[in-house]
Structure formats: structure tokens, C-alpha cells
């Protein structure tokens, strides 16, 4: 296949899975090219520096067309992307994600007939939909949200408190396929995380923004501190709420038990996550939440809110628990269960996390599904189930 990816920015420090997917497709013998629209990435990461060396990933031979969205009209971007598609004899366009990249892909498809697939992340569905969402889902050969949660929101099987324009969308079931983010199995721990009856570190990872609800973990931990003197909280991340969260911990008398690291690189984050005994993600709303999968790959029990990929990460009672975002009492109750269960039981649950997450989200399992969707989109065959 000759695949042309259209992305917001290439290469992006915060979307390294894209680099891995391009690398995987290239290693499978597919010809790959990338159009980088130069548009802004996620809000929370603006101003955070970082750098990816494509040559370190073997991607320096992948041709890239760099455009600058802020200076170009949609027609100009589509024209340039179409010229690039011709130059590379593209069989398929894959748009990451369902905003500008999918809009450009849709326009290139209209001009060239090249089929296109669309990957959908959280914001594309639950908060900031494309004004062209209707045309995109109508003309795309495959619509691929990153989680079942998003797929359900997209088609109206699941309701949000406040749905953005275009949601629910009229998507033919035959073209809707969930393609999750993934991690290489090399990151899957061989053994579950070591557990201790003396010290228990509850961990969480993410940008310190209101939607992530880190204040709920601090409140839950504060409510358990007397029962469990070895309980600690480690939050890996930085953001606008850092000072507020530290103040909350101080006010609740657990400042000495709470550590917030500030922004860390992915490598540093994975290293620090190795200290976790329990992983909590209390987010109000997620499209996926890769950090929950990364934690599961470390082999720890999970306590996750019902959003994004979380319900696909947890089999309640087997490797963790689910709760409704904002329900601090439920979160505290689940943490109490895990802390009371003892180190051996937590280790068993961590082992279950490895099995569940490794089976569902390893690159080795997900990439062939992506490849099959692409092949079907090109041939016009029914998408693989």
C-alpha cells in the first residue's frame, strides 16, 4: 500500500504512537508519506518543549510535506496535499484526526477519488467537532475512534451532559471500527509490580487541568490516611492546577504524602511510573487515556473513572475497579478495598492487568487490525470485524 498520513504536526513529541505506526507500516513494506499541517496540538502542551529525532526511529526516509495551516486556506492545503498524494501515488489517506486533517483528507478525496480513513480522538467527538463532520463520516471509507466509549458517543449510544455540534452523527455501522492507541509489547512488564504492606504508592499521570479531576484523588487519599499510614500519592504531570492541588493537600493535612512532579518526558514518566502500586485515573472525560494503558503495562491494579478507554482496561474485581467521575466516596471505597486486600492480592490483580492490557492494547495485536482496515478501505471490501 502507498499510505499518506495527514496529521496536525509531524513529528509530535506528544503523539509518538503516530511515529510508531508509520514505522510499523514502513517495516511491513508499505510506502508511507506524511502531510504535516502545522496546526496546533493539544492545548495543554503548548509551550512545553520537546524534540523527536525521526532518524532515531528509522523515519528519516519518510517524505514529509510541511504546510502552515495558519497561513493557508483549506483549499490551498487540500491542493498541496493532493499534489503530494499524486507524487507518492497514494492508495489511501489516513487522517489523524477528525478536525483539520480529516477536512483536508475529505477535500483531497473529493478532488482525487483517493479513499480515506479517519482516526478520531476525544476532542473530535466529545468537545470540539469539525463543522464538516457530516461530510467526513459520509465520505470516509472507515471511521475509527480510539475507544468504544468514543464510538458510542459518536453514534448516540452514550449521552454526554452536553453534546457538541454534530453529535450524534449518522455513521453507517459498516464503516465504524474502533482502533485503539497501543504500546509495543516490549513495554509490557514481565511481572506485576512489586507490592508492599508497608508503603503503598497510589499513582496518576496527566496534565493538571480541571477535566482530569486530580483533586478527587487527593481528597480520597486524605480520607484514608489514618487507616493506612504507608499510603502515598504520586502525580506525574504539570499544569495550571499544580499550586491549587498542593494547597489542597496541605489543607487536608496530607502535604507530606503527596508529590507532584511537574511535566516529565515520556521516558522519565515511564521510569517514575515504576514506583506505582495502584493506578488511579479520575478524569471527567477522556477519549482514550493512554496513561491508564501505560500503567496497566506496568502490572498494577487500576481504579478508573467510566470514560475513554477505561472500561476496556478494567474487569471489575479482577484487575481493578470502575467508578463514576466525581464520586469521591466510590473512589475512596475502591482504594480502601485494594489497600485492605494486601500485597499478594494486589499483585494478583496487577498480573491480571498485564494480561488484559497486553492482549487488547499491544502494538503487535492492534497494528495488524489497522493494516486490515486500510486494505479494506482501498479495495472497497467490507471492513474486518
Amino acid at each position: 500500500m502507498n499510505i499518506m498520513y495527514i496529521v496536525q504536526h509531524w513529528p509530535s513529541l506528544f503523539e509518538t504512537y503516530m511515529c510508531r505506526e508509520v514505522q510499523w507500516m514502513k517495516n511491513r513494506g508499505h510506502k508511507v508519506a506524511v502531510v504535516s499541517l502545522g496546526s496546533e496540538g493539544p492545548m495543554g502542551f503548548r509551550g512545553v518543549s520537546g524534540y523527536i529525532d525521526p532518524s532515531a526511529l528509522g523515519l528519516d526516509e519518510v517524505p514529509v510535506l510541511r504546510l502552515e495551516a495558519k497561513h493557508l486556506s483549506k483549499d490551498e492545503m487540500a491542493g498541496e496535499a493532493n499534489s503530494f498524494a499524486r507524487r507518492h501515488n497514494a492508495d489511501l489517506i489516513d487522517a489523524h484526526f477528525a478536525r483539520e486533517p480529516a477536512e483536508v483528507a475529505c477535500d483531497v478525496h473529493a478532488a482525487s477519488g483517493i479513499p480515506f480513513t479517519v482516526r478520531m480522538r476525544g476532542g473530535d467527538v466529545h468537545s470540539n467537532t469539525s463543522p464538516k463532520l457530516g461530510s467526513i463520516v459520509d465520505r470516509a471509507s472507515a471511521i475509527c475512534p480510539v475507544s468504544q466509549f468514543l464510538a458510542d458517543v459518536l453514534v448516540g449510544r452514550r449521552k454526554l451532559k452536553s453534546a457538541p455540534n454534530g453529535i450524534p452523527a449518522d455513521v453507517s455501522p459498516g464503516k465504524l471500527r474502533v482502533l485503539p492507541y497501543n504500546l509495543s509489547a516490549k513495554y509490557l512488564s514481565r511481572e506485576p509490580a512489586k507490592q508492599s504492606d508497608d508503603v503503598q504508592i497510589v499513582g496518576s499521570i496527566g496534565r493538571l487541568v480541571p477535566l482530569k479531576r486530580f483533586q478527587d484523588i487527593i481528597a480520597a487519599v486524605a480520607g484514608l490516611s489514618r487507616e493506612f499510614p504507608g499510603l502515598r500519592l504520586l502525580i506525574i504531570g504539570g499544569g495550571v492546577l499544580e499550586a491549587d492541588l498542593l494547597e489542597q493537600a496541605r489543607r487536608l493535612g496530607v502535604a507530606d504524602r503527596v508529590e507532584i512532579t511537574g511535566f516529565k518526558s515520556w521516558d522519565e514518566t515511564m521510569h517514575l511510573a515504576g514506583r506505582f502500586h495502584i493506578y488511579v485515573q479520575p478524569s471527567e472525560l477522556e477519549g482514550f487515556c493512554l496513561t491508564a494503558v501505560e500503567a496497566a503495562f506496568k502490572g498494577v491494579p487500576l481504579v478508573l473513572s467510566r470514560t475513554g478507554i477505561h472500561e476496556e482496561c478494567v474487569e471489575p474485581g479482577t484487575n481493578g475497579y470502575l467508578f463514576d467521575a466525581g464520586d469521591v466516596a466510590a473512589l475512596r471505597g475502591h482504594l480502601r478495598s485494594l489497600l485492605s486486600a494486601g500485597a499478594n492480592r494486589r499483585r494478583e490483580m496487577g498480573s491480571a492487568s498485564l494480561e488484559i492490557a497486553g492482549g487488547r492494547f499491544s502494538e503487535e495485536n492492534v497494528m495488524p487490525r489497522i493494516e486490515s482496515v486500510f486494505q479494506s478501505a482501498i479495495s472497497g471490501a467490507a471492513l474486518p470485524s
Binding site: 518543549s49 524534540y51 525521526p54 528519516d60 510535506l65 510541511r66 498541496e80 499534489s83
Partner: protein
């Protein structure tokens, strides 16, 4: 601690827009590789056929890519062609800063621009505080006090944090250059004004702001020296400048046999006459 720039990692960049500049840029890059063998090079060549908008093919250690200039150049063979193409420089440097400066450091950028017609006769010896915000370039002092002082953009050094004040200067220079490509300003200088006058204005506006950076004004004769006088090679600067402008600016000079052959430029002894020199054709002296 102050260091010479040749002791520091830096990205060297240039682009050649129009075929006449390709060999010219190769000649320049050969001299850079000779004196700065460790510096990664980001070089663009354009236009690439098949695109509606002007697009450059970019080679760098990051691989091959294509960068689309986000405004039409509308080249029509007139002098305006040159006026538009030179203004691409501001946009180009902002792109290199954003996309390639990490080749030497993830967060702190150091980018050197050299015109395609520059030839390095030695390693750059500009002295800088390695972690300071710096813009350096040859400076033309207006001895008559008409307010025409300007940086000369044949050789430029930009150094600073990726999101620092020098990054902001580059973004502003880029925006102003793109705006002027769309709508060329009235020429009001004794010379054809170009990207360097735009940069001079931007530097002036930032000098008056709270953001702090150092502007290093380099000697013109040393860093963009013109080696010819009276039809002979009379000197060599640290960086020679061979004034492709004399060939490319006006439509009637584009077929001129200028600059002289590479071998002459690199190896001729001081005093050697220009090959085929005709004093009646010499516009520069």
C-alpha cells in the same frame, strides 16, 4: 563563559529558490563542510514541480521533506521576483528554528544562515555567551546619519531558547516578510530593500520591548566581504560574498557570466584578474 561559535553546535541553513542558485549553494555548503564538519545542514531547493504553491525540497539529517511557502510568489520575470524570493528568508529561518533546531539541542537553538553566494575561508569566530539570546550579523553603519543603518543578512546567527525572544523575533520577521511578499512595499532606500531591512525593523521593535537579547554587529568586510576590486581579486574575508544579486535582481542581467568560476573563487591568488573581465560591464565598482 564566552565561546566562539565554531566551538558550539549549530545548524547551518540556506535555501536556493530558482535553479541558478543550486550550484551556487552547493559551492557555499562545500566551504561550510570544510570549516564546520560537525554542523548539521538544512538546505532547501525549489521550486518543486507539481505543487500549486511554491514548495522547496528540504534535505537535512531529519530526512527529506517538502516545505510549502504559504504565499504565492507569482514570479513573472520582473525585478519583483527577486524582491519576493529574498523575503522568503524570514519565513525559512522561522521554519528551521521550529522544525530543525533540535538537531543540536532539544530546547536551545543555534542557527546560522549563509547566503548561497557566501564562501567560507575559515571557521566562524563570532563570540557569544552560549546560553544567551543572541542575533548576530554584519552591520552597515550609515555614516551620513540618515537612519539607514541595517543588518546585512548574507550571514546571520540566531541563538536562544526555542520559545525565547529570538524565536519571537524570527516569528515576527517571518510574518512581516510573508506580508510583504503578498504586497511588496514601495522601495524607499538607495538600494533595493529586502528581507534584511525587514529584519532590521523587527530588531528595532524588539530592542524597545522588555524582552532582552543581544544584537552583535559584525564587521561587514570580514563576514560578507566582497573580494573584487578593479577586476582583480584583492582580498579574502573570513566569509566572501559573491553578490548573486548582480545577476539575479534585474531581468537584463540574468544571463550575465557572474559569479566567476568556483575554482577562481576558491584558489585564485590575490591580484588575479577576473576571467573575462570587461571594465565596461562592471556595475559594482
Amino acid at each position: 563563559m564566552i565561546k566562539r561559535v565554531d566551538e558550539l553546535p549549530a545548524v547551518l541553513t540556506c535555501f536556493a529558490y530558482r535553479r541558478e542558485y543550486f550550484a551556487e549553494m552547493e559551492g557555499m555548503l562545500a566551504t561550510v563542510r570544510e570549516h564546520h564538519p560537525d554542523w548539521p545542514i538544512v538546505a532547501g531547493r525549489g521550486p518543486v514541480e507539481g505543487f500549486d504553491l511554491p514548495t522547496l525540497e528540504v534535505e537535512s539529517p531529519l530526512g527529506k521533506s517538502y516545505w510549502t511557502i504559504p504565499v504565492p510568489l507569482e514570479l513573472d520575470g520582473s525585478e519583483n521576483d527577486w524582491l519576493r524570493v529574498v523575503r522568503v528568508k524570514g519565513w525559512w529561518l522561522a521554519q528551521v528554528w521550529r522544525n530543525c533546531a533540535g538537531l543540536v539541542d532539544a530546547d536551545f537553538c543555534r542557527v546560522v544562515w549563509a547566503d548561497a553566494d557566501a564562501r567560507f575561508n575559515g571557521a566562524l569566530d563570532i563570540e557569544v555567551e552560549p546560553d544567551a539570546e543572541v542575533v548576530a550579523g554584519p552591520w552597515w553603519h550609515d555614516r551620513e546619519g540618515k537612519g539607514l543603518d541595517t543588518i546585512c543578512s548574507g550571514l546571520l546567527l540566531f541563538q536562544g531558547a526555542k520559545e525565547g525572544v529570538v524565536g519571537e523575533i524570527l516569528n515576527q520577521w517571518s510574518s512581516n516578510c510573508l506580508a510583504q511578499i503578498r504586497n511588496l512595499p514601495v522601495q524607499n532606500k538607495p538600494w533595493p530593500d529586502s528581507d534584511q531591512e525587514v529584519l532590521t525593523e523587527v530588531l528595532g521593535s524588539f530592542s524597545n520591548s522588555a524582552a532582552s537579547f543581544s544584537l552583535i554587529k559584525l564587521e561587514m568586510d570580514k563576514y560578507v566581504g566582497y573580494p573584487i576590486k578593479d577586476g582583480k581579486l584583492v582580498k579574502r574575508a573570513l566569509v566572501d560574498s559573491w553578490y548573486m544579486i548582480d545577476k539575479m535582481r534585474l531581468p537584463e542581467t540574468r544571463e550575465a557570466a557572474w559569479p566567476p568560476p568556483e575554482e577562481y573563487r576558491r584558489t585564485a591568488a590575490i591580484g588575479t584578474p577576473l576571467p573575462g573581465w570587461n571594465p565596461d560591464d562592471d556595475r559594482r565598482e
